[in-house]
Amino acid sequence: MTATTTAPMATSPVRAMRQPSGRLRAWATRAPLLPALVFMIAVTQLPFVATVVISFFDWNALYPKARHFTGVDNYRQVLTDTDLRHSVWTTVLLTVAVVLVSLALGLILALLLDRRFRGRGVVRTLLIAPFLVVPVAAALLWKHVLYNPEYGLFNGLLHYVGGPQPDWISNTPLLAVEASLVWQWTPFMMLILLAGLQSRDQQQIEAARVDGASDWQIFVHLTLPHLRRYLELGALLGSIYIVQNFDAVFTITSGGLGTANLPYTVYQSFYQAHENGLASAAGVLVVIGSIIIATFALRVVSSLFREEVSRA
């Protein structure tokens, strides 16, 4: 996959002047870049090419002799298999729910933290903490310490008010996974949106206030339009990370109770079922989904980047 964005050529005059003329000097300029570039292509792009190739073979690792070319059969199977189709749907639901909820919560928190109040730094630190718990540890925390129907904190607190004692994970498995992810990803959204809020034009806001605009009017007409791109960025980056989520699904439900998403299914179909061809086809589908999101993400990053470069 290559960059599809038309990137800006924002070479400053000084920098342009320093472009070397000779072919040798051009290579001397390029040389520092090459190790990183070659390394990236070898480790991340070549395996993906191999995945595409394998996805056209009927290949079960337990029967290596029976390996043969099947064309698009694996894709047909992935797209018609009810389990796999379900995992596509689960991936979409999980990603959309987690991204939207954590974005909304992140926005509220960012707006609150954008104001001055006593102990703002402490509150910011408290809010970032969930994002800095190792994902597996966070999933274990939710699974055993919070959700456990017998001794979990949720039912413990419900006990005080005489509430019911539900078995959270069995009753609402997908929601259970989503809640733990929302807890971890809300700080991420908050940080991005907070950065957006703090890059607002304060003079413009002050001018609007002097002209008698209310807080609500300022929010709707100035803050929200300014935040739009930061909201998009948060949503897209969050989608890219959460589409790939493996840790929470693996830990909280082990892919059971209808919570298997695509990464978990890919993992399972080759690690447990040894179906290399099917796993690769599913993997390619994950990539196609990601490319769709990534195209939009690159566009947003590019527009923010262009602004940075022109501001510099």
């Binding site: 990137a7 570039l37 395996p47 993906f48 994902p135 540890a137 925390l141």
Partner: protein
């Protein structure tokens, strides 16, 4: 800002205090699971698993003793050591590769440097799981399964785009005029890098390193598939707690907390640059 604050009428200020209180409450609410995890880790197993919860139970280090293997379970030290090796070595390798690349994308840019930058970014958007199978097959044939250095290579590739992006933006902050002036004064390139570029870019490089460290430390999927008993990392060790094993809550909490501690420390240290790293350099 202070001039603005003085002009704010009394009513708005009271509303501001109320909203500050709301922020505090939400902050505490989000932190509560972690606080509860920390408290539970210091309880005895019997006190940890009560309903209603025993908030005021006596404190003990038994959970930590259990976790560190003195209670007879598997020792976490090999896994922790592996995680340190994988995270530190891959972070160093990332810096080694990313610094020259960032230099060629900012201070002395190649032609079409923005295209190269976006190529790095686009590789980050390719889901890792899609390359998992070929990497597994390659490692199996090359005899590199259950080898921590395989993870070092993979984590380096995983973090390289983030590092290149972040460092490009930090190096771009070094004013070209200062570099030019130093060179006109006869300073050679190594001197310019050490005396002019490094002091300005160093805090950013440190933050980049911390963020790469966090991502490597957290990684589960590759570690789970590609390692076994020898090269197992800390997150893989934690997956041993997925199925309940009787009374083990204090131990789980102690384990989760100990393994998260390096990330919490690195994250708080890099707090200001965290956004920039996570947004792949798009937000400053």
């Amino acid at each position: 800002m202070s001039a603005v604050a003085e002009r704010v009428p009394q009513k708005t200020r009271r509303k501001g205090a109320g909203l500050g209180l709301v922020a505090w409450l939400l902050g505490i609410l989000f932190f509560l699971p972690i606080a509860w995890m920390a408290l539970t880790s210091f309880h005895s197993e019997a006190d940890a698993a009560t309903n209603p919860p025993s908030f005021a139970a006596s404190l003990t280090l038994d959970g930590y003793r259990e976790f560190f293997g003195t209670g007879g379970g598997a020792s976490p030290w090999p896994a922790l050591t592996n995680s340190v090796v994988a995270s530190v070595a891959s972070t160093l390798l990332v810096l080694l590769l990313a610094l020259p690349a960032a230099y060629a994308l900012s201070i002395r840019p190649v032609k079409k440097w923005t295209d190269v930058l976006f190529f790095f970014l686009s590789t980050k958007m390719l889901p890792a799981v899609a390359g998992l199978l070929p990497i597994y097959l390659f490692a199996k044939n090359a005899g590199m399964l259950d080898n921590i250095w395989l993870l070092v290579i993979l984590y380096t590739a995983m973090n390289l785009p983030i590092a290149v992006w972040m460092m490009q933006s930090f190096l771009a902050e070094v004013p070209v005029a200062v570099i030019e002036a130093a060179r006109v004064d006869g300073a050679r390139l190594p001197t310019v890098l050490a005396r002019v570029v490094a002091p300005i870019a160093l805090p950013g490089i440190a933050a980049t390193a911390l963020i790469c460290f966090i991502f490597s430390w957290n990684e589960l999927l590759f570690a789970r598939v590609l390692t076994g008993v020898v090269a197992e990392t800390a997150p893989v060790f934690l997956t041993g707690f997925i199925t309940s094993q009787g009374l083990f809550l204090a131990k789980v909490c102690a384990a989760s907390l100990v393994i998260s501690l390096p990330v919490l420390a690195a994250g708080f240290a890099a707090q200001d640059k965290l956004v920039q790293g996570l947004s792949l350099g798009a937000v400053k």
